[in-house]
Structures are given as structure tokens and as C-alpha cells.
């Protein structure tokens, strides 16, 4: 039997209730004519399930607006889900509100590195304070123990001691990224969520940060959920990938297999859109149109219809389910390719 995964997310959904259209008067008239109506709902994350094993790095990719950020906020327990469960090492986390969870000892187990450390770190905190803050609140450290721990974490993340007195605007992009990472790993989480950690960095700095993340994972045995829109970066770091489209996972599987033999037409288009000097730009698949609206989508229509080059009548009648092939590469498409054989 497979060992129990570190993180087990099952059938999780997040819907946002939107303000009904029209003025109060037109809404009242509509109501009198047609009876009570439901407010429109935005399906940000819709029935998503996945697992992350111990020491595993899982990449999450998709276009802006596909629900990546909502999903990681759900998993990080920053917001509450409408349905579904999140289990960490076998323990249910969704039985209490995100607000309660924030003050519980289990909070240390899931930590997050945010996109632009320059924006996400309190500008009035020095680098030392930024790293010390979670240690104080979540581990209750103070005095010498706190100073030792901050110094140790900073060293692990390649931050020289003399930089710790500086404020975030006095640090370079790479140094700021290191502070963001140090702050998250200081409390020794089991799962680290990385939301586009290198998006704001130059390539030469990006490589250093990616190598640091790889080394930290090896040394500390953490699991990563790595969100990025840069597929070349995901490919470098991840064991497995999840491809998301409009609130749903459309493909998942081992990174090598998904990149080499994508099964879902969307994954295929996404990979084909990557710049490649060795292939003329004209030979590529282009997705026409924009992402469909996530407001009250038809539950029986595949979300990719409208942009999909493969779509047929069947795709408007039944939502395809995520089905795996023998090598564990799953795709949600009526016309999924066989994948790696």
C-alpha cells in the first residue's frame, strides 16, 4: 500500500457570492415576476482533489484567473472552503475556521512564501524582525533563543548577518526573496507553499533562489506546493504537476510525463506556447478566445469549450472526469490522449 500522503485535499470547492445584477427596483420586479432567485456565484475552485507526499514537490500551473491563488489560500488555511476536506498527516484541518486555525499550534505546519517579498513583508520590519515575527507568535521564542534561531535560519538561507538590520527597501530583490523564504521556514513547517517565488527576479538571481529551495527541501525534508506560471521553472523543480483551468484540475501527473506527453488539449497548448528558438513560431497551437466566465458555469459543459481545438457536441453535454492512465497521469477530457506509454 502507498504510504499516507502528507497533504490530502478532497473535493474542495470555493464559491464567492456576487451581488445580483440590476438596481433594487429591477431586482424587486424580477422577483415578483419570477419568484426568488439565487445570487450569482463565482466558482473559483470547483471540486478539486489532490495529494502531496512527504518530501514531494508538486507544481500548480495555469493562467491568471484559473483559481491557483484561491486554491493555495485554501490549502494554506488562509480562507475557508465551502465544501471538501483538507487533511494534513491524517488530521482534518477544515473542522475549524481559518480564523481559529491561525492561532493554533498546527499553524506552523503549513507556511507560505508570497510572490513579491518587497510587497509582502511589513516595510517597517527589519530583516531580523521579519524572520523573528512568526517565531515569536507561533513558537513563543524570545531573547537569546530567538536571536540564535533567526541567525541560524538566515544563515541557512544565505543571508549574511550584517543584512539583518536592514529594511526591505534596502535589500536587493534576491535578498528580499531570501528573507521571505527564511521567514516561512523559520518555524519548521512540513508543507511550504510557494506562490510564484521567483516571478519578480532576474534570471541570474532566479537560479540562485531555485537552487536554495532545492537544497532546503533536501536538508529539511519539507514538501512543496509550487505555484508558477513559468512552465520551464516548474519543470526544473517539481516531481508532479497539477494543471488548472477555470477552477478545475484538468491534468495531473509526473512532471516528466506531463511535459513530454500532455494528455489534455489545454496542457498541450500551454506547453506549445512556451518560447522555443528551435521551432518556428508559426508551427504552434494558438488558443483563440478568452477564458470563459467562472460565474455560474454550466455543470454539464467542459470548461475548456470555446477555446478547445478538439471540442465536439459531447463536450457540451457532459463534464469530463479526471481519469488516470496506468502510469498515474490523469486528464479530464473526453478526447484525452493516451499519454506516456
Amino acid at each position: 500500500m502507498k504510504p499516507e500522503p502528507l497533504l490530502d485535499v478532497a473535493e474542495i470547492s470555493k464559491r464567492y457570492v456576487l451581488k445580483p445584477q440590476g438596481s433594487p427596483v429591477t431586482r424587486l420586479i424580477r422577483r415578483l415576476k419570477k419568484g426568488p432567485e439565487a445570487a450569482p456565484r463565482l466558482h473559483a475552485v470547483d471540486d478539486v482533489s489532490f495529494t502531496i507526499g512527504r518530501g514531494e514537490t508538486v507544481g500548480l500551473v495555469g493562467e491568471s484567473g484559473c483559481g491557483k491563488s484561491t486554491l493555495v489560500r485554501l490549502v494554506a488555511r488562509l480562507i475557508d472552503a465551502n465544501d471538501g476536506s483538507i487533511r494534513l498527516a491524517g488530521r482534518e484541518l477544515t473542522d475549524r475556521s481559518a480564523g481559529r486555525f491561525a492561532t493554533e499550534p498546527e499553524r506552523v505546519k503549513i507556511q507560505m512564501v508570497f510572490q513579491d517579498a518587497g510587497e509582502s513583508i511589513n516595510p517597517r520590519f527589519s530583516a531580523f524582525e521579519a524572520i523573528a515575527d512568526p517565531l515569536r507568535h507561533l513558537r513563543g521564542l524570545k531573547g537569546d533563543a530567538l536571536r540564535t534561531k533567526v541567525a541560524e535560519t538566515a544563515k541557512r538561507c544565505g543571508l549574511p548577518q550584517e543584512l539583518l538590520t536592514r529594511f526591505s527597501h534596502q535589500l536587493s530583490g534576491g535578498q528580499r526573496a531570501r528573507v521571505g523564504i527564511a521567514r516561512a521556514i523559520a518555524v519548521e513547517p512540513e508543507l511550504l507553499i510557494l506562490d510564484e517565488p521567483t516571478a519578480a527576479l532576474d534570471v541570474s538571481v532566479q537560479v540562485v533562489i531555485l537552487q536554495l529551495l532545492e537544497a532546503l527541501k533536501r536538508d529539511l525534508g519539507m514538501s512543496y506546493l509550487f505555484v508558477s506560471h513559468d512552465l520551464n521553472v516548474v519543470r526544473l523543480l517539481c516531481d508532479r504537476v497539477l494543471v488548472m483551468y477555470l477552477g478545475k484540475i484538468v491534468e495531473s501527473g509526473p512532471a516528466e510525463a506531463v511535459f513530454a506527453h500532455p494528455r489534455h488539449p489545454y496542457t498541450k497548448a500551454l506547453i506549445a506556447a512556451l518560447p522555443d528558438a528551435n521551432r518556428p513560431a508559426s508551427e504552434r497551437i494558438r488558443l483563440s478566445g478568452e477564458i470563459a466566465s467562472p460565474v455560474d458555469p454550466d455543470p454539464n459543459t467542459c470548461r475548456f469549450v470555446g477555446r478547445c481545438p478538439r471540442a465536439e457536441a459531447k463536450c457540451r453535454q457532459a463534464m469530463p472526469r479526471l481519469e488516470a492512465n496506468s502510469s498515474g497521469q490523469a486528464a479530464a477530457c473526453h478526447f484525452a490522449l493516451p499519454g506516456k506509454s
Binding site: 534570471v203 541570474s204 537560479v207
Partner: protein
């Protein structure tokens, strides 16, 4: 060789700040030929955007052009008066900015913004400008252009806004297009489409294109020739294929080795030691890469060879990597 559409020669730009004078550009030289697409690549702070702003004459008031010329059709843009420049911008040179949503006027309908350019620069009659604007929206692949023309920028997605920017830039059929990171912040699928539109329009009109990017992969795919900048210097220029096959400058080599490609592994990627020099220093080294350079020699303190703006190849290094081809 075809006559250059734009020749930038020995352009130096300084910014006066409270913390000292920043020597942002130092004798930057390159050209772009008619119908050619060049990419200007480099990391943040290398002076890519400052170069574009200098050519467009839209530098910050704190900036001063201390030397050089930028010649477009016989006119030196750096010496031209405001009135002349206003006639050239939009008509002869157009620019596409990063982050289209902030570059567009937020309180004017996009159709009107396109019509503005048509009226000002393209000798279009006021009565036909709105229809012409809708046609332009159609050429950049906007579906339902008549309805979109009435939209405000906030009602459109990022990719849509960038298409509108392209439509505005191309409204007066300029001879030179400068695109400053046109797809940064857009999804890869949208990026591919936007780049297709720019390439197709450029080709259809024989337009010269300067494409500024930090993404070497994108430059490799889209540009005929690449100009590499580092810390305010042009350090190397070569036709794209040659540059990747045989990079000569150590910085170009390092940049290529740091960029993840479709088949690279994390352990194969190389980092670049150190950071760029502080451009406010009173005495900058002759080669601004020398402090980070693994191929540094004692000779590197000597002034760098002057770059000939009119040539397709350029190299500013005393100890370049060997060439693989006979000269």
C-alpha cells in the same frame, strides 16, 4: 546592408539624484535596419528601458543626455526640439509599454483613444476616424470590435488592453516600433498571440522593431538580432542564431547558462556571481562587468573598444570567448 531605420550612436545618459549622479547609459551604440526585429536584452537596471525612453524623448526630467545621437530618417532625435519630436512620435516611431492597463487613459473609451492618434497623425477625417478605429481593433484580433471600441480599459483583460496598445501604436503606420516588455505579466498563451500580432504587423508594413525584454528565450524565438546590455553598456550584438551558437562576451554566456530552457536541469543552470556595480560611483571600471567576470585579466582596466553602431556584430570585451567561425 539595408539603410538603418534607427542609428543610436554613443548615447550616454545620466540621472541626477539626491544620492549622486547615476550613469545609466554609457556610449550605447546599435542600429536597427528597415524591416528588422532586434531584441535588446539584459537584467533589470541594465539600461534597456532608459535607451528606449531616450530615443522617444520621454526621459525623466532628472535625466540628461550627455553625449551621442539617435538618427531616424536624417533627424537626430536627441537634438530635435519639442515641436518636431511631437510630430515624429506616434507618426514615425511608436512605443508599446509594459503594463498596458496603466499606459492607456483610464477614463477614455479605447476606440476614442485610437481615433485620437488617427486624427493627429494619420490624416484621417473626423467623420471616418471611429470606423477606422474599429477596423484597427479587428486587425489586432479583437472579437466584436465595434462593441469593444466603446469599452473602457478596466473592462478589458490584460491581453485585450495590450492589443489596444498595439492598435494605437500602429494606427499611423510608423517606420519604427519600440516594444518595452510587451508581454511581461501576461500568460504564456496570451504572450504567444500578442507576439504573433506584433510580428505579423511588422512584417506586413516592413516596420523596424526594437523589442526590449529580459526573457532570453522569447528574444531567441522572435528577434533577427540580439543586443545584450549590462549596467548601461552594450556588451555584445550578434544575429540571434550566431549569438546562441557562439556567444563571445562572458556575460552573454552567463546569461544563456542561467536561463531555463525546455530541457535544462536545475543542476546545469549557472548563476552569475555578484551583482551589478553601483552606477553612482565616481569612478566606474572601464568594463562594468569586470568585477563579476571569471575571464578578467589585468588588461580589463583599459578602456573598452568603441562599438561601431552600423555593424551587425558588436563586442565590448578584452578577453572574449574564442570565435568558432573563421572571420
Amino acid at each position: 546592408m539595408a539603410a538603418p531605420a534607427l542609428l543610436v550612436e554613443d548615447v550616454s545618459v545620466e540621472f541626477r539624484t539626491r544620492a549622486g549622479t547615476v550613469k545609466a547609459l554609457d556610449r550605447v551604440s546599435f542600429h536597427v535596419a528597415k524591416g528588422e526585429t532586434i531584441a535588446v536584452v539584459g537584467e533589470s537596471g541594465s539600461g534597456k528601458s532608459v535607451t528606449a525612453y531616450a530615443v522617444m524623448g520621454i526621459l525623466d526630467p532628472a535625466a540628461r543626455v550627455t553625449s551621442g545621437r539617435a538618427v531616424l530618417g536624417g533627424l537626430d532625435l536627441l537634438k530635435a526640439d519639442r515641436h518636431t519630436l511631437a510630430g515624429v512620435r506616434g507618426r514615425e516611431i511608436a512605443m508599446i509599454f509594459q503594463n498596458p492597463r496603466t499606459a492607456l487613459n483610464p477614463i477614455r473609451r479605447v476606440g476614442d483613444q485610437i481615433a485620437d492618434v488617427l486624427l493627429r497623425h494619420a490624416n484621417v477625417a473626423p467623420s471616418t476616424a471611429p470606423t477606422k478605429a474599429v477596423e484597427l481593433l479587428e486587425t489586432v484580433g479583437i472579437t466584436d470590435p465595434a462593441r469593444r471600441a466603446k469599452a473602457y480599459p478596466f473592462e478589458l483583460s490584460g491581453g485585450m488592453c495590450q492589443r489596444v496598445m498595439i492598435a494605437i501604436a500602429l494606427a499611423a503606420s510608423p517606420s519604427l516600433l519600440i516594444a518595452d516588455e510587451p508581454t511581461t505579466g501576461l500568460d504564456v498563451t496570451t504572450q504567444a498571440i500578442i507576439m504573433d500580432i506584433i510580428a505579423e504587423r511588422a512584417q506586413a508594413r516592413g516596420m523596424a522593431t526594437i523589442f526590449i525584454t529580459h526573457d532570453l528565450g522569447l528574444a531567441a524565438e522572435r528577434a533577427d538580432r540580439i543586443v545584450v546590455m549590462n549596467a548601461g553598456h552594450v556588451i555584445e550584438a550578434q544575429p540571434t542564431r550566431e549569438l546562441f551558437a557562439n556567444p563571445r562576451h562572458p556575460y552573454t554566456t552567463a546569461l544563456i547558462a542561467a536561463t531555463p530552457g525546455p530541457s535544462s536541469r536545475l543542476s546545469d543552470l549557472r548563476t552569475i556571481a555578484g551583482g551589478p556595480p553601483d552606477l553612482r560611483a565616481a569612478q566606474l571600471p572601464a568594463c562594468r562587468y569586470s568585477a563579476r567576470c571569471p575571464r578578467r585579466l589585468d588588461d580589463c582596466a583599459a578602456p573598452l573598444p568603441r562599438i561601431d553602431a552600423a555593424k551587425t556584430h558588436a563586442l565590448a570585451c578584452h578577453n572574449p570567448l574564442p570565435t568558432k567561425y573563421a572571420a
